[in-house]
């Protein structure tokens, strides 16, 4: 049999030209997906906002990103006078390099034959590949932080500050979320996590056994949700794009960048999006494995076909990224931090505990009733904790009447609170005029009626010209 799922032992035996081909292919994948991703995002957002989007350069505007890239290459390369020359130069490079490196451990497919050489469609795999992914994405903070600092002006500095705090917070959440994936897969290597999702665990509900699909998006739904949210936070995409919030920080850390350095930042941002989609696909959507109706066919997981399923899933996740951007407004900074530290991290920790407890209960030789007792005890403790949790009570605001009553003696006199002010004669006349206008055009008081009608702004054409 030619094609099969690779294991860790299959890596590290390639000849040099196969390695070069695979590295080059991963690089080209990143860059081409960026080119298409920018176009895809602009077209999609255009579609969602009921406008055409870029449609001039090439068929369906496909060459628009290429044209933008060319334009950026010919722009003047500016450097602010107060900037740090060296760091200003290397910051975009760090960003792009870190983003591209992550593609090295993404499994694109099973073992295939390239010019007679059998090799897995993955540049390399190590026993701790997911940690490599996390570490590389943690390193990419440096590009943003240093770029913001080295520009030597306030807006980029603020952007860099926000980026550092944001990425550290969401890194923690991400790490805690993938712990549950490790627990279920029993491995930290990406190819083995994909392989672990191939098995269909049996679920017994009331005596009947049911084979559920092994995709972790179903088995680990809370992890998937937490991971997806923190992936959006980690990639600096809306609604979490606080480091480059256009409306408050101009463009955050890239305000002072121009020309190809700016292009590098843009490139790394979109490669980040592609990598995040690929990681979500690998960890939760079974990577290159065929989805259910197709997987009935035996050949679906062999040869070059898996590349197609992989690309389809990546594009699907990228569509969700774009959809989020088109739908949600940007969070305020404190809301964002509260979401990370007070909601996502406790949730992820609790979920790790729950899953760990379940695993221990499964592995240990407890009887059925003992398991139920244990689960019931945990549920009772949780219930008691929720019931008697000291709730924060909002300090009640005194009503105006109480405030008046609580005034010290000798204060200024106040008019009664339930004072009814009679309408002025002018307002009464205006109301009467409106009433006659509504009941039908009468010939009375034309001089009063006309300006009032004009002011009411019921003219549809006038309203449109304002907009």
């Amino acid at each position: 049999m030619l094609s099969q799922a690779p294991t860790l032992a299959d890596f590290g035996h390639d000849t040099w030209w196969v390695i070069i081909i695979k590295v080059l292919a991963a690089f080209v994948f990143g860059v081409v997906m960026t080119l298409l991703g920018v176009w895809f995002e602009r077209r999609m957002i255009g579609w969602m906002q009921v406008r055409p989007g870029p449609n001039r350069a090439g068929p369906f505007g496909l060459l628009q990103t290429l044209a933008d890239g060319l334009k950026m290459a010919f722009k003047e390369d500016l450097r602010p006078r107060g900037s740090d020359r060296l760091v200003f130069l290397i910051a975009p490079c760090i960003s792009a390099v870190c983003a591209l490196t992550a593609l090295a451990v993404i499994p694109f497919g099973p073992i295939v034959s390239i010019f007679g050489e059998r090799t897995p469609l993955q540049v390399t795999d190590v026993p701790v590949a997911v940690l490599v992914l996390l570490a590389v994405s943690a390193l990419s903070v440096y590009g943003v932080v240093l770029g913001g600092w080295a520009s030597g002006s306030p807006y980029p500095l603020l952007g860099g500050l926000r980026a550092s705090a944001q990425m550290i917070s969401y890194e923690v959440t991400m790490g805690l979320a993938v712990v549950t994936v490790f627990m279920l897969a029993g491995s930290m290597s990406t190819s083995e996590i994909v392989a672990a999702q191939a098995s269909n665990p049996e679920l017994s509900i009331g005596g009947a056994t049911l084979a559920v699909p092994g995709w972790y998006v179903l088995l680990l739904l809370p992890t998937f949700v937490i991971f997806a949210i923190s992936a959006v936070g980690e990639t600096n995409r809306l609604p979490f794009d606080l480091p480059e919030a256009e409306s408050e920080l101009v463009a955050g850390f890239m305000t002072e960048y121009s020309s190809l350095k700016f292009a590098l930042f843009m490139l790394s941002e979109y490669i980040h999006m592609v990598v995040a989609s690929a990681v979500i696909t690998t960890l939760f959507l079974a990577g290159w494995r065929a989805p259910w109706p197709v997987s009935v066919w035996d050949g679906a997981n062999q040869g070059w076909w898996p590349l197609l399923w992989f690309m389809g899933k990546v594009v699907l996740v990228m569509f969700v990224f774009v959809w989020l951007r088109a739908t949600l407004p940007r969070l305020r900074y404190d809301q964002f931090m509260r979401l990370g530290w007070k909601v996502l991290i406790p949730l992820a920790l609790g979920w790790v505990l729950v899953l760990g407890g379940t695993r221990v209960a499964q592995v240990s030789d407890l009887s059925r009733s003992e398991q139920l007792w244990l689960g019931g005890a945990v549920a009772a403790v949780l219930l008691l904790a929720v019931l008697f949790w000291p709730a924060r009570r909002q300090p009640s605001r005194p009503s105006p009447a109480e405030q008046v009553a609580a005034r010290p003696p000798g204060s200024f006199p106040l008019p009664p609170l339930d004072l009814q002010v009679p309408p002025s004669p002018q307002a009464r006349r205006a109301v009467a005029a409106k009433r006659t206008a509504a009941s039908g055009r009468s010939e009375a008081e034309p001089a009063v009626k006309r300006p009032l009608e004009g002011r009411a702004g019921t003219d549809p054409e006038g309203g449109e010209q304002d907009g």
């Binding site: 996390l134 570490a135 943690a138 440096y142 790490g175």
Partner: protein, 176 residues
């Protein structure tokens, strides 16, 4: 000398050199970047010793979070670009303490291990693999580990108390 020896020596030289640069440079942010180089070299040494998990956790935690936090603090306070002239302190006490600690530790390790050689089998059963390391950490070393984390927590709380004089003030002063 094997390739691993040469790599270890080279990475060690890089780590020591970068560490020296951290304490001698007058550029605050660059000191942080030298620290990144130093910690990265340490991670490389772990990789040479086939401890992949430790190496990548080192990169993830120290390079990716701790130094970023240091940079965050520097940027939050003043973020100077260029050399800061007001950083000079008398270097002799620091030199004495640092060199003393370094030499003492080095002497201790040299005396403890001498020419003992440890074979490093690669693969899932090697001493640096995730499974073996996790087993060691949660079986034999769990108490020191927990005590360390409590110490860290105490240090954090202490730092907050020291840096915020208004924390205990509401208990003491009834007029507030």
């Amino acid at each position: 000398m094997t390739v691993a020896d040469v790599l270890l020596l080279g990475l060690g030289a890089v780590a020591v050199g970068a560490g020296l640069c951290v304490v001698t440079t007058a550029h605050l942010v660059r000191a942080g970047l030298y620290l990144v180089v130093c910690l990265g070299a340490l991670a490389g040494m772990f990789l040479v010793l086939t401890a992949e998990l430790v190496a990548w956790v080192q990169v993830l935690i120290y390079v990716g979070a701790v130094v970023v936090l240091l940079l965050f603090a520097v940027m939050l306070t003043r973020a100077p670009i260029g050399a800061s002239g007001d950083l000079d302190r008398p270097g002799w006490p620091g030199l004495l303490v640092g060199a003393g600690a370094g030499l003492g530790l080095a002497a201790l390790f040299v005396d403890a291990y001498r020419w003992t050689s440890v074979s490093l089998p690669d693969g899932p059963d090697g001493p640096g693999s995730a499974g073996v390391l996790g087993g060691e950490l949660f079986r034999s070393w769990v108490l020191p580990f927990e005590v360390l984390s409590v110490l860290l927590l105490a240090a954090l709380v202490g730092a907050i108390i020291v840096s915020r004089p208004d924390v205990g003030a509401s208990d003491r002063g009834a007029e507030r």
